[in-house]
Symmetry: C2
Subunit: 185 residues, 2 copies
């Protein structure tokens, strides 16, 4: 039976950190986290929140942008000062990559059997040096595949915000999820 109110996750992370204080890893205690995630494991309304943030420095922003998005506004603090965005800002693709890292930390069961198929990103404001980014996620829809009876599509939506609550990215992600195999077959 499912709880009446949406579940709030992040406890796995809290537990892991608490145990770390005593020099014990969660994996030693409970065994490895579950690796296979099925279509049945996520329900509309399930919520996940990050309990630890990821800090973004000017050096992080420049390092990522040198590899993938070497525009002056992302790599040159002096030139960026006079740009439309008034200061060095992270590439939106850097915010997207950090958001993926946060997604693995919120306790959303991600593993084999769950594959990103597409995403819609909005960047209302750019990530800036000194931001600490957090994630809040909700499962917004799920439906079975019409063509392939062994799988479905789950949609999750999440906000990437900094320590002041400023929205840096909103994401809608479609995940292909396998159905749990029928043990009677």
């Amino acid at each position: 039976m499912r709880p009446a109110t949406p579940r709030v996750y992040g406890l796995w992370e809290i537990g892991r950190r608490t145990l770390e204080l005593f020099g014990v890893s969660l994996e030693q205690t409970l065994g490895p986290a579950p690796q296979t995630v099925w279509y049945e494991d996520l329900e509309v309304g399930d919520r996940f929140v990050s309990t630890a943030g990821i800090s973004v420095s000017e050096a992080d922003i420049i390092d990522f942008a040198r590899r993938f998005d070497p525009q002056p506004r992302h790599i040159d603090p002096v030139a960026a000062k006079d740009s439309l965005l008034a200061g060095l800002v992270a590439s939106g693709w850097h915010t997207a990559a950090i958001t993926m890292r946060l997604l693995l930390q919120v306790g959303l069961p991600i593993g084999d059997g769950l594959i990103g198929a597409g995403a819609r990103l909005d960047w209302p404001t750019p990530t800036r040096p000194g931001d600490e980014l957090f994630l809040e996620l909700v499962v917004t829809s799920k439906r079975l595949s019409r063509g392939k009876p062994d799988r479905g599509v789950i949609t999750v939506e999440y906000d990437t915000r900094n320590q002041r609550g400023e929205l840096r990215q909103h994401t809608r992600l479609s995940l292909v999820a396998l159905r749990r195999p029928d043990p009677s077959v």
Copy 2:
């Protein structure tokens, strides 16, 4: 006057590489590439193609994923062999970052005055080690802002394909573009 057929770019890159063979940089010859891009600089139907690809190795895939998406399918070639995707594959966010790098190489005039506001990504197949990725882009729409008379929104769509033409990512990107200032004002 605009040409009757859509423009095909990439010549800047060809020119740069040709000059490099003789030890001369394009910037020495022509001065820096234009930095400010206006709403008026792009028209629906304009096409841009990459003339040089970006190769993706297993080490590249693992390095990116260790930072941003450390799932077994992206960092562990042995575990990945038995996964749904049958072998190590790049994080979709890595494909997105490489695609940004390609976007800066196709000759699309990107610079100050042009800011990514949102994107829609589809990953029909994942990037794999040994892929060399190329980009083909078309400007699909443009409209003036209703609220802010100094700017508009330009939409571009592009395909990221490997050397065998396999589609790794389709992107629809919305760009906020400033209008060229009126010199008579």
